[in-house]
Amino acid sequence: MSPPGLVLRHASLTFGDRPLFQALQARFDAGSWTCLLGRSGSGKSSLLRMIASLRLPDNHHLDLQTSDGIPLAGRVAWMAQQDLLVPWQRVAGNVMLSAHWQGRPTAADRRRAEHLLAQVGLADKADRWPDELSGGQRQRIALARTLFADASVVLMDEPFSAVDAITRLELHDLASRLLADRTVLMVTHDPLEALRLADRILILQGEPARLVSISVPPGDRPRSLDDSELQRRQAELVTQLRETDDA
């Protein structure tokens, strides 16, 4: 099942009487990885919620088209900015939460959950309660839960914000591998991360916000950190983030 591309049109969102964005357009190619950057409070998380058709207060509107014409519902995995672990399931149970909630996890589900846990480096925590974990560990469980869903469209909201630099690099590799041919939209605040992982970088900025597209370095993702091109672009991207902000 090949992942759909997405076309967004007339996206608008207003909280109170302040429009966050109006008539926003964007297209996400099938199987591509898009990183979304922008100032804190610019509406990145809200945009992800809109695409996932989650509840938003106040006025919002979105025309969403999929490249295959089939509605998105049921094909989206969403990783929120908070980890949203449920306290009444142990770690392994949280990883296969979708299986638990939709019925009963099968033996295959269990194996897959354990495998994913091992891959995010938490094999030994499978039987712990979530409240015995550190912040970064919780975030990795949430990531594993998102990967477990095996959806063709994946929306991730700052998925690596709470882990250390090394773990983060490892998770980049893992996510790149497991989400290789999915349509991914990921919010991040780390320019380097965006440059490593993205096929396309979008910046949400201005009032009301527009989407500014930024070119990425060539090469397969995840791109190596040593790539001098990457380093150069990072500085450029930061300047870009700052400049358009002042404009």
Partner: protein
């Protein structure tokens, strides 16, 4: 639990018991309430021992009513809470009904119940159920409608049906709140059964109490009362322990503080 800890846990309830008996005796001594209104702990203790056969017989009947009422009331209350949370249209219609069921003094319903259900265990179990029902339904519903939004969102992206969401997400999230209601229900169950027995019966602790009261066997009445109270306390702590087992992830934060 190690034996020492168990022992330690038993010390305080025993202390509580002693305190209660002491207060009781003190009230007697200070206010000089005549013993045919409030008998001495001693006299009640004697009645407990002398009449243990009689008490055990009636207590057994009441115990059956309590357990059946508790199970029925909890099931019914939970079902109501789920139905209220699930069907929006029900809320403004069913909720007032639920409230009305609480506001009607049972004695007013007694003749009607008797007419329909006769004098067997039925009406007593029903009374216990009615009493238990409300705290369970009410706290359950309150818990169900306060599920944190994030989990509901997650459920939506998992494509859960409303029914799945209710049972797999809202219900476990409501457990702490529901537990509050269950504890309350447990301590109210005995009085429900007793009220049922006042509606009409020929056995049970409630029957025994009314009879003893009418015959001025106040010692015996208070002995029955003591058994009833013991039921309530045991049930409360039993349900509390069961809830702790059922929610191994749930800690009382402040409780376990040094």
């Amino acid at each position: 639990m190690p034996e020492r800890a168990l022992l330690k846990r038993l010390v305080r309830p025993l202390l509580a018991l002693v305190t209660i008996v002491a207060i009781w005796q003190l009230v007697l001594t200070l206010t000089g309430v005549p013993r045919y209104i409030l008998p001495s702990p001693m006299a009640v203790g004697r009645a407990l021992i002398d009449q243990r056969g009689l008490l055990a017989h009636h207590a057994g009947i009441t115990a059956i009513e309590i357990v059946a009422g508790l199970i029925g009331g909890i099931l019914l209350g939970l079902t109501t809470a789920l139905a209220l949370a699930r069907f929006r249209a029900l809320r403004r219609t069913l909720l007032p009904l639920l409230l009305i069921s609480q506001a009607i003094p049972l004695f007013a319903l007694a003749p009607i119940l008797m007419l329909w259900l006769g004098y067997g265990l039925g009406p007593k179990i029903l009374m216990a159920m009615v009493i238990i029902y409300f705290p369970v339904a009410s706290t359950g519903y309150d818990g169900l409608r306060q599920t944190p939004q994030g989990w509901l969102d997650l459920a939506q992206t998992f494509g859960l049906t409303r029914r799945q969401r209710l049972l797999k997400v809202q219900l476990p999230a409501a457990l702490p709140s529901l537990a509050s209601g269950l504890r309350m229900a447990a301590s109210a169950a005995p009085i429900g059964a007793v009220i049922g027995e006042w509606v009409g019966s020929s056995q049970g602790l409630g029957y025994l109490m009314l009879n003893a009261n009418a015959r001025l066997q106040i010692d015996l009445m208070f002995a029955a009362l003591v058994v009833l109270v013991a039921f309530a306390v045991l049930l409360y702590f039993g349900v509390d322990a069961a809830l702790r087992l059922a929610m191994p992830w749930h800690h009382d934060r402040v409780e376990s503080e040094p």
